[in-house]
């Protein structure tokens, strides 16, 4: 049987990708952030997942404002590295697992999560930066990705965003879908985005460490409480783009409420964003 063996949650700031791709990770500005990633890389290496479910939001690469799915899921053989305007990141494409994806889709829809399905899909920094952090070397380099992937998209770009409770419950539905997959598969779930930040308007540059510290603590001790906070309060207290933390709740929802946090890293700041990372083990 397949099982979710752990979760990693991390910010997906584009400039973290640039720092890796341009080999800047030892520069004074970036070193403390990347030093903090090393234990997470070991955690992921030891978990050795066969499949990684990556929960992220598309940033105008694959999703146009003409059609915005609240939730979506990939079922492609291969996910290409997208050109977001600067040219694609210099990293390999990501191998999918259509059979596993379709199993998830069937079981999620049966549980009343009506996700949009992507059979062709490129991925942007929201997906690739966390993958480089989790699976790459210090500079994010990999010869090939040591895991197959399933992208799960959450709309955090155009109102209305889904409620935190719904995202947490999506995680629980993903967990049940994974548990019912008949073949032995070790599954990692990667929740991305956050932490507090705001990119747009006069409040651009807003960060709130007090909120982030509360979130990190409750993510461990009382994730249900985070699921009860309305989405508008995330935007108010963690910045407009801080609402991306709902994708951490998808990952956390896929684990038992008493899952063990084994590592935590928090750093101010990566460009405009308070950067956080956590590692959770299933048992």
């Amino acid at each position: 049987m397949a099982k979710i063996v752990g979760a990693v949650t991390t910010s997906h700031v584009p400039s973290i990708g640039i720092a890796m791709d341009q080999r800047l990770t030892q520069e004074p500005y970036w070193q403390p952030l990347f030093d903090g990633y090393e234990p997470a890389k070991k955690f992921v290496r030891d978990l050795a997942p066969d499949v990684t479910i990556v929960v992220y939001n598309d940033h105008g690469l694959e999703v146009s404002l003409d059609r915005v799915p609240t939730f979506g899921i990939g079922a492609a053989d291969l996910y290409g590295v997208g050109d977001e305007g600067w040219g694609p990141r210099p990293i390999p494409g990501f191998r999918g697992d259509p059979a596993f994806s379709w199993h998830l889709i069937e079981h999620l829809v049966a549980q009343h999560f009506d996700l949009m399905m992507y059979q062709e899909m490129n991925v942007d920094h929201g997906f690739s930066v966390p993958m480089s952090i989790a699976f790459g070397d210090r500079n994010g380099t990999v010869d090939s990705w040591p895991t197959r992937v399933v992208p799960v998209t959450v709309n955090t770009i155009q109102f209305p965003f889904p409620q935190p409770r719904r995202c947490f419950d999506l995680g629980k539905a993903i967990r049940r879908a994974v548990d019912s997959f008949p073949a032995d598969q070790r599954v990692l779930i990667l929740g991305t985005g956050g932490m507090s930040h705001q990119l747009q308007g006069e409040r651009a540059g807003f960060m709130r460490p007090e909120f982030d510290r509360m979130f990190l603590q409750k993510l461990r001790d009382d994730p249900q409480a985070l699921a009860r906070i309305p989405i508008g309060d995330y935007m108010k207290n963690a910045g407009h783009e801080g609402a991306e933390l709902i994708m951490w709740l998808v990952a956390r929802g896929a684990l038992d409420d008493d899952a063990r946090e084994v590592y935590r890293h928090y750093h101010l700041s990566a460009s405009l964003t308070a950067a956080g990372l956590t590692c959770y083990r299933k048992d």
Binding site: G60, D83, A204, G205, M207, R213
Partner: protein, 90 residues
Amino acid sequence: MSLTCPTNRKAFIAGPVGYCRGFGLSAESIGLVTSRDWLGMIRSGGNIYYIFKLAAIDRVSMQHVGAQQNSMTLEQFRAKLNSVKDLNHG
């Protein structure tokens, strides 16, 4: 979003006004785009992730965009970002 395609980026750089007209933008909206009035674009309903494709064309960072929205220089805005302190942990 069309600017994720290199051919379209070339077309935009060669003639931004005509490129925007092709998408039915008003003269006012085109003015916001060509003057890179980031706050103006946001206020008129622009979405940061889509208008940020223009920053990629200009090779400027989100910090640059953030600074302008705060009516600050890049140095002032970086100082603002660095002034945020994590009181719980030094």
